[in-house]
Point group: C2
Chain length 331, copies 2
């Protein structure tokens, strides 16, 4: 069975997703739509996409398309997810799924009503490293897990003056928390089976003149009494996950990237007692294969409504904390 | 010139300090004093210490002793530093120097009045790794420094029920912040030349029934707009320092230990671009040599009054934050 894909938007991740669809077992790209005519043409040509639509509704009206990938700025996810559902398209929508819980609830309602599959895109969840990490934790390789330190930060200030980049505008769902920190929240969801944290604190942040945070630090406590630190930033580099237990520590870098990664476990004497190299794995393709399977086999996707609502609820609350007067904003 | 040392207390670090004094260029151990007669005898015998005093004042009355090392529980530092000064002994006092700024001020006044040298013990400051780290930062090896993530934590819950261990009593200056987190503050002092942070926040903590924190998390912002995260705990293992810059990251484990350590620098692609092994270095001995030199050459010690007052002021304020109602205490 061939699953035909359409793409809304020409954002940063689209190139990778196009090649993932093209290399997927059942996927086929039919069309792309962008408000920027020249950009869409160039993009379609470079990436061998047969049809270009200058308007999103045109693409959605194409009855050959089974599923759309929504790569638009975050504040447009709601509108175009609902439009896609109304056109009876299945949907893979980039994270964050929505700006807030109300938007997400409306989006899921529309999809349920139209009986289409919808999933928030978190490609790294399809990487085998996650199963491996859970296995290592379950077999007590660092004793009892007590503290998680997750930083997902990269320096992208060269784009700071790019007015087209939604990441620098709060009203478009920008900011490092929504763009990068959300991966930490998603990972905590994965670890703690979608529990809502007992405590969430926003520790510090740096906000630009458009209200978007450029750096965000938070601490969360989950029911299992595990303390989790989140760091996200557009201003510096730091892409690591450290899992501290009573008997040792697990270290992983670049968790969310498809590139080759190494899991290290060290004991309390700083000796490496376990090392496993996880080879390059195209989790973009794996995510597309998963959506294709869900469509052809009529199954529920891995990242379910409840998880997405939990993720958005948490980032909303952290963001609200940030806006309260008693939070230190660092300029 | 021989410098004769006396030791007050038989705490955890004393064994190491005894061997440091014995191996130092000018140092000689004359006596140890402990309130626990049997313990003192056993300790003196095992460590070849000629004289045992059953009371601290006896030791201080020994006119052959030039300098005392104070290894008593933190709440006794003030009394015995002042007593030592009154007996015209020079003083190396374990960190934290005092319970609060007022105590420390009184202690320094007494020492100045008696014209004796006094220094807060931070042995790792004599390790060559510190100069190396500053050199790497100064030559821009990770671009501009923006974020420091320092965790000094080890699991020592087996001692949790030891009523003799002052670490588990707030009124004796216990808690992970005063015991371990203070190293992070001291390191930030070193990095930022004793500046007082613009912002300090206590993020989370876990307090035992004696009011001592077993885990402590804080965020500080220094004048250079560098955000610093501190984690200390008695409940899990995590002994790392991560320095994030605009172009890369410096990783060091077990910074405060004399053991062999590796400095790694990674670029934003997670590639190791610099590696240097710092061999085992007995910074306990180096600290003793330094105090001996200060005494014989009548020089000021490395860690000065202003720095110690700054350190204590910061940990006091972080601890006060913790006690305020609006801070989440995690049980």
């Amino acid at each position: 069975m061939v699953i035909n894909w359409g793409i809304l938007g020409t954002g940063r991740m689209v190139k990778r997703m196009v090649s993932a669809i093209q290399s997927s077992d059942q996927g086929n790209i039919l069309a792309i739509a962008s408000r920027d005519k020249n950009r869409a043409h160039l993009f379609a040509q470079t990436n061998n996409i047969p049809t270009i639509h200058e308007n999103y509704n045109h693409l959605l009206s194409d009855s050959n398309i089974d599923v759309v990938y929504i790569a638009l700025p975050n504040h447009l996810h709601k509108k175009w997810t609902i439009e896609s559902a109304l056109h009876e398209k299945h949907i893979l929508c980039e994270k964050p799924f929505a700006m807030d819980v109300q938007e997400a609830t409306d989006m899921f309602s529309a999809c349920e009503k139209q009986d289409v599959i919808t999933m928030e895109g978190f490609m790294y969840r399809f990487n085998p490293i996650l199963t491996k990490l859970k296995e290592l934790l379950n077999k007590n390789s660092i004793g009892e897990l007590k503290f998680v330190n997750f930083s997902f930060s990269h320096e992208i200030t060269k784009y700071l003056n790019d007015k087209d980049n939604y990441r620098y505008y709060r009203e478009k769902g920008g900011g490092s928390l929504y763009d990068l920190g959300i991966y930490a929240i998603n990972f905590f969801n994965f670890l703690f089976r979608d529990k809502f944290p007992k405590i969430l604190r926003t520790n510090a942040s740096l906000i630009n003149s458009n209200g978007a945070d450029l750096t965000f630090l938070a601490t969360l406590l989950y029911n299992q009494n595990v303390i989790c630190n989140l760091t996200s930033s557009f201003l510096f580099y730091g892409n690591y996950l450290l899992l501290s237990g009573t008997k040792g520590i697990i270290e992983v870098n670049h968790l969310t990237s498809p590139s080759q990664k190494t899991i290290l476990i060290k004991n309390t004497k700083n000796e490496v007692i376990f090392k496993e190299v996880i080879p390059f794995f195209d989790h973009f393709k794996a995510q597309i294969d998963h959506i294709n399977d869900c469509i052809s086999l009529d199954q529920k996707p891995l990242i379910k409504k409840e998880e997405t609502l939990n993720t958005i609820n948490i980032i909303n609350l952290l963001d609200e904390n940030l806006r309260k007067n008693n939070i230190d904003n660092i300029f």
